[in-house]
Amino acid sequence: MATHIDWRAWALSAGLGLLGAPLASAQLQVFACEPEWAALAQELGGEEVDVYSATHPGMDPHHVQAKPSLVARLRAADLSVCTGAGLEVGWLPLVQRRARNARVLPGAPGHFEAAAEVDLLDRPARLDRADGDLHGEGNPHVLLDPRRLEQIARSLALRLQQLDPENAHRHRARWDAFQARWREAEARWSRQSTPLRGRRAIVHHQEWVYLFDWLGIERVAALEPKPGVPPSLQHLSALAELPVADWVVVSPLDDPKAAHWLSARTGAPVVVLPHTVGALDGADDLVLLFDVVVAALLQALR
């Protein structure tokens, strides 16, 4: 009998302990939907944050599943940093519902959407699934424009200060340092990228819109006949008739066959650009990411 009571007392205290356990870590738990936001949160949060990235650079953010691990991670998060604009529509709402963490639900201070901080391009005039995988809110691939990234970073820095007032001065100092470094890098990229202005590119998927907006590159066409629909021979043949572009731009996730086919027909060089931090060797942080992008575009022109 005594052992029975002991067992129950143990179970009760263990249960209550788990239920009431404050998330013991002093660090702010950050759940980043994509590697770029993990990198940004780490830059801006430093030692005050513990960052988890829900996806890695080798995964297509459109096709993520609501895995058990994501539910467990979001359950523990104080802040989620995602792209928004429908990029994570296939999995994030489900993970949010299953994780039952009111701190990071849309509308709460712990919910941060990068796309909500900037003007979006490519807002479709009509919404029809026959036009492919469209995002009604606009093109969500906002990362690759340093001007927009700075806006996003500024808002995220403020959010960190709001969520972690005790360390607000540290967050502010890190933001100041980041901004100075970023401005300096941006000036460098502007100088380097002068030869890129007015050039013309054919892309695989419509994820370079913001990059081209920044660099003044004209997007001639996409290898995907419609967003998310793989290239067809008919479509590629039509592209081969167009005036030759300066590049055929693909990400490491795209099947490069179509790009090489077009390149062989037209002579336009294929250039593989990292779509996020860590997608290619050398693109290990946000500054290096843009260094790699600019260098790769310049290299291909030679």
């Binding site: 895995k67 058990p68 467990a72 039952r100 009111a102 639900l105 492919g132």
Partner: protein, 441 residues
């Protein structure tokens, strides 16, 4: 405030009126002017279209996500579907094969949204053909809490039980054209009922640890045919899941349930004049499931999934015929499972293999019999007499998903029932109109 939008509409309409006027005076306009006007007009039309699109989005922003799932296909069986019975396992609920030939299968209309800051709601209406008539039923209609503290969540209404792995998912999200035999035999296809679910997600971030309890009123198979009180069925489950490295993910679940069965009608031979066997008593239901998924490069992936279900039933079975009635003491043990693997060999193509089986070990003891027939013959008519080898089946599947919203599937299966083999072919389409579905693990 009320005049705000009206004013906006008037100002927007004003320049349109002017352009319309300009367009109506072609004789006055010089040819060059006409071309410029047309250009101007096309641009205004384009702007208007964009404005309308933007406005329709604004109007719809608070509306629920609505999606309509259409399913249909073609099915062919070597053995006529009505001649195939699984010994000891009379089918109940919605269980059974797809209609032979070309047919519309189940269609579903789902609406879901956050109700407010506290609740999420979802309803799914199912449409299907039954005996030549189109039936509409409320498959699911539930509300769920969004913001309870400490990882607690409550769902209430009608919903599919979280028992096992497949049961909580709608049929259009299944990887094969039909339910595993064990789901058909033990759960009536899929178990959903009116009730309450409480779950708790442990505050552990390295693995998912979730425990849950469900209470149902017992209105659906395998519970009784009569409405019971909430609590006629209770189920508990534990779910664990996580990642191994960045490529592999897994999930394990164990579920157990106790069911008060009150006059459940199911199966039996329908080529006789009788009201079918009716079972009252207790049942327990247990399930274990395991899923392993591996992401490979270039949009390829691999899934291994298995489930085992066990049901134990004790009580009385009544059979009423024109000539009299019979009652049996009934003690049944039934189980079954499936193991399946899927290989997504290209981003849009998947191939799969499934092996499934089901079996019964039932004891029937005649307690009374006024039908005038021998006890064994009457027992046979309950459909609960188990004999021979366990029915089993293997299936090969190939599907193609041109987009997130459509899928075409070809499935070939060979079933062994009573030493007879049955070739089964399914061609299936599944499409979704409207809101983007969730990528459930």
């Amino acid at each position: 405030m009320m005049f705000g939008p009206m004013t906006a509409v008037r100002t927007a309409a004003f320049p349109m009126f002017l352009t319309a006027l300009a367009g109506a005076l072609p004789v006055v306009a010089a040819p060059e002017r006409g071309a410029a006007d047309r250009d101007h007009e096309t641009r205004i039309q384009a702007l208007e279209a964009r404005l309308a699109a933007a406005e329709s989005r604004a109007d719809n922003r608070f509306n629920p996500a609505v999606s309509l799932v259409l399913q249909g296909g073609w099915a062919a069986f070597d053995q006529p579907a009505e001649s195939v019975e699984w010994p000891g396992l009379p089918l109940g609920g919605e269980a059974g094969p797809h209609p032979e030939g070309l047919a519309l299968w189940e269609s579903e209309l789902t609406a879901s949204a956050n109700i407010d800051h506290l609740f999420f709601g979802q309803a799914t209406l199912g449409f299907h053909e039954h005996d030549g008539e189109t039936e509409t039923d409320v498959e699911e209609a539930f509300i769920e809490t969004l913001a309870l503290p400490a990882g607690l969540g409550v769902r209430m209404g009608r919903f599919y039980s979280d028992l096992g792995y497949l049961n909580g998912r709608h049929s259009h999200a299944w990887d094969f054209a039909d339910a595993p035999m064990v789901y058909q035999a033990l759960l009536g296809g899929q178990y959903g009922d009116d009730g309450l679910r409480a779950t708790w997600l442990a505050p552990v971030s390295s693995v998912l640890m979730e425990v849950g309890a469900e209470l149902f009123r017992g209105g659906a198979y395998p519970a009784g045919g009569l409405d019971g009180d909430v609590g006629a069925v209770w189920l508990g489950f534990v779910r664990l899941g996580g990642d191994l490295g960045v490529l592999h993910s897994w999930q394990l679940s164990v579920s157990h349930g106790e069911i008060d069965v009150d006059a459940r009608a199911a199966g039996g031979h329908d080529d006789h004049d009788h009201a079918g066997p009716v079972f009252s008593g207790d049942a327990t239901l247990s399930a274990v499931s395991a899923v392993w998924k591996t992401q490979l490069s270039k949009g390829r992936s691999w899934v291994l999934q298995a489930e085992y279900l066990y049901r134990d039933e004790n009580g009385f079975v009544d059979l009423v015929e024109d000539s009299g009635a019979a009652q049996f003491g009934y003690d049944g043990e039934q189980d079954g499972g499936y193991i399946q693997t899927l290989y997504q060999f290209r981003p849009r193509w998947r191939a799969g293999f499934r092996y499934d089986w089901v079996g019964a070990d039932n004891q029937l003891v005649a307690l009374s019999n006024t039908t005038g027939e021998a006890d064994d013959d009457v027992a046979e008519e309950t459909g609960l007499v188990s004999a021979g080898d366990d029915p089993s089946r293997w299936a090969l599947m190939l599907d193609w998903s041109p987009s997130e919203f459509s899928r075409l599937r070809l499935q070939y299966a060979q079933a062994e029932v009573d030493d007879r083999s049955d070739d089964q072919v399914h061609l299936q389409y599944i499409v979704t109109l409207g809101a983007h579905g969730a990528h459930r693990f």
